[in-house]
């Protein structure tokens, strides 16, 4: 099983414009991404990196242009095939590590990986029964990564994914991303730091 | 010995029974709590987490940080 269950997929945006709070962040943006490809969205602060990811995730409505995914599951919309890993970890401190993960696995649905195995992969296997509130920022980020592994989705939208991760964590994460790409997945990441894997650069905003 | 409790026997019996029940619940709760805490401690011990020696047992604000 490929885990993703799709053939080639292709994400494309044509003339995408974003307006936030009355201010035009960017406009006329064209971009493409294909299976097995990582796109690093770069640009100075405020150039709209996060906004672009949220547009793709359907969390913002574009002021113009279209974003489409071809070759994916025809029954699902684009956001339903995306994983969004934002600044916030979407974890409840009162629930245990395992409860947090299994909730998202149940709620997001779709093809599932093994939760225990994902926790082991990100290095949290000993912490499964601890409340998520006990975890450090880096550990919470690892738990969020376990969500990406447990629920299989072809498109990963990552906003500063390596924030709060230590060197070993970044290395581990690089392996996970390569693994995802080799299975025909796609990554769009907003980042300042190098992503740690081979990626195509998408510069948005005026060059500083 | 049988006491005569008068016309309001049920109120007297109820109040004594309620007191017994509430105290029993308190005792039961405390005993169950004790059992679950010691069980969790034992489990943590087994998973290899031990306190550093010489460290105070409670996590008062000063000792834990």
């Amino acid at each position: 099983m490929s885990g993703l269950g799709h053939g080639k997929i292709q994400l494309s945006g044509r003339g995408v414009a974003c307006v936030r709070g009355g201010r035009e962040v960017f406009s006329g943006l064209d971009f493409e991404a294909a299976s097995g490809e990582a796109v690093a969205v770069v640009g100075r602060n405020g150039s709209g990196k996060t906004s672009l990811l949220r547009l793709i995730a359907g969390l913002l409505v574009p002021a113009g242009g279209t974003i489409a995914l071809e070759g994916g599951d025809a029954e699902l919309t684009l956001p339903e095939q995306c994983h969004y890993l934002g600044h916030r970890d979407a974890l409840k401190p009162a629930l245990s590590v395992a409860e947090n993960l299994s909730f998202w696995a149940d709620f997001l649905g779709g093809a599932r990986g093994d939760a225990t195995e994902s926790l082991a992969t990100v290095g949290l296997e000993h912490a499964t029964h601890l409340p998520a509130g006990f975890l450090s920022a880096g550990q919470r980020r690892r738990l969020s990564l376990a969500r990406l592994l447990t629920v299989r989705r072809p498109v990963w939208l990552l906003d500063e994914p390596t924030n709060a991760l230590d060197v070993a964590g970044q290395e581990m994460f690089g392996g996970l991303m390569r693994e995802h790409l080799s299975r025909g997945g796609m990554i769009v990441a907003a980042t300042h730091a190098p992503l740690g894997i081979e990626s195509r650069e998408l510069r948005i905003g005026r060059a500083a | 010995m049988m006491m005569s409790l008068g016309p309001y026997a049920s109120f007297i019996v109820t109040s004594y029974a309620a007191a017994a029940l509430v105290v029993a619940i308190l005792i039961g709760w405390i005993m169950l709590d004790y059992r679950s805490q010691t069980a969790r401690l034992r489990e943590l011990d087994r998973s290899g987490v031990t306190r550093r020696s010489g460290r105070s047992a409670t996590d008062t604000p000063r000792t834990i940080s």
């Binding site: 000993h126 230590d166 693994e179 | 008068g6 709590d33 805490q37 105070s56 047992a57 834990i64």
Partner: protein, 263 residues
């Protein structure tokens, strides 16, 4: 055994383990004596056999205030002397105090029903105890609302002391409010002069219930200490996980990609 010796929780646990059986035994014996004596106590010429409710109502009412006193002293211990066991004592006492206050209310209303013809009368004493009960519940909610016990301890200590200062004011206001409204016909509970045949069983019961509280409180404190131990161990476990994964990620990552590749 001084207060300083008690500061060491491990020593406190050892002491508790030694003392608890004796305390429990003493409680049981005194309770048995008290119950026997209250069974033998004569009927009141006015209230009849319902006066027997008094033997259980008054000790609980006494404890409802006594426990708040204990918590206030413990709160001073937290805020002023920073005694490490003080907030453990305060936290452990709250649910027990609430239970005794609840019993005082319940037995009071069961006593009131034959006397007044209604379960609840907005009588000054009952009403004050009801407010006390609400304050206990509020305090318990405060302990529950904050995850970190050391942070909750300060807030709870302040609230307990404010409550201790406020309680007389509340009692006074309720009395005043009550006399303002209350028709004088309502019979006062207890009565000023208590006959010796009532007084002795009542005293024995009061002492027995106080001992019961001390026993339960020590046991609950022991639980609380253990709970915090569990918590700090879990915290350590969490940080240790990060450490081990830092050193072991290389190989684990290799495994992960192997597994995934095979899948």
């Amino acid at each position: 055994m001084t207060l300083i010796d008690l500061a060491n929780p491990t020593r406190f646990l050892a002491l508790t383990a030694r003392v608890l059986p004796w305390l429990a035994a003493a409680t049981v014996i005194l309770l048995a004596i008290g119950l026997y004596q209250s069974a033998l106590a004569p009927d009141d010429y006015q209230q009849g056999a319902t006066v027997k409710i008094m033997f259980i109502h008054v000790p609980n009412a006494w404890l409802s205030m006594f426990v708040w006193g204990v918590m206030s002293i413990a709160s001073l211990g937290t805020l002023v002397w920073r005694h490490p066991l003080a907030d453990v004592a305060a936290k452990a006492a709250a649910p027990i105090g609430a239970a005794f206050t609840f019993l005082a209310l319940l037995t009071g209303s069961l006593w009131g029903r034959p006397m007044w013809g209604t379960y609840w009368e907005w009588d000054a004493r009952l009403t004050s105890v009801l407010i006390l009960f609400l304050m206990y519940l509020g305090l318990m909610a405060l302990w529950r609302a904050v995850d970190d016990p050391s942070r909750a301890a300060r807030a709870a200590a302040v609230l307990t002391l404010v409550g201790a200062i406020n309680l007389p004011i509340i009692k006074f206001s309720v009395d005043w409010w009550n006399t303002l409204h209350q028709p004088a016909s309502v019979m006062r509970m207890g009565g000023p002069a208590l006959d010796k045949s009532f007084l002795i069983p009542l005293l024995v019961m009061a002492i027995a219930f106080t001992l019961l509280f001390v026993t339960l409180h020590l046991a609950a404190m022991r639980n609380e200490i253990l709970r915090r131990r569990v918590r700090s161990l879990q915290m350590m476990q969490a940080s240790r996980v990060a450490f081990s994964s830092e050193t072991g990620t290389g190989s684990r990552q290799g495994n992960a990609s192997n597994e995934a590749g095979a899948a």
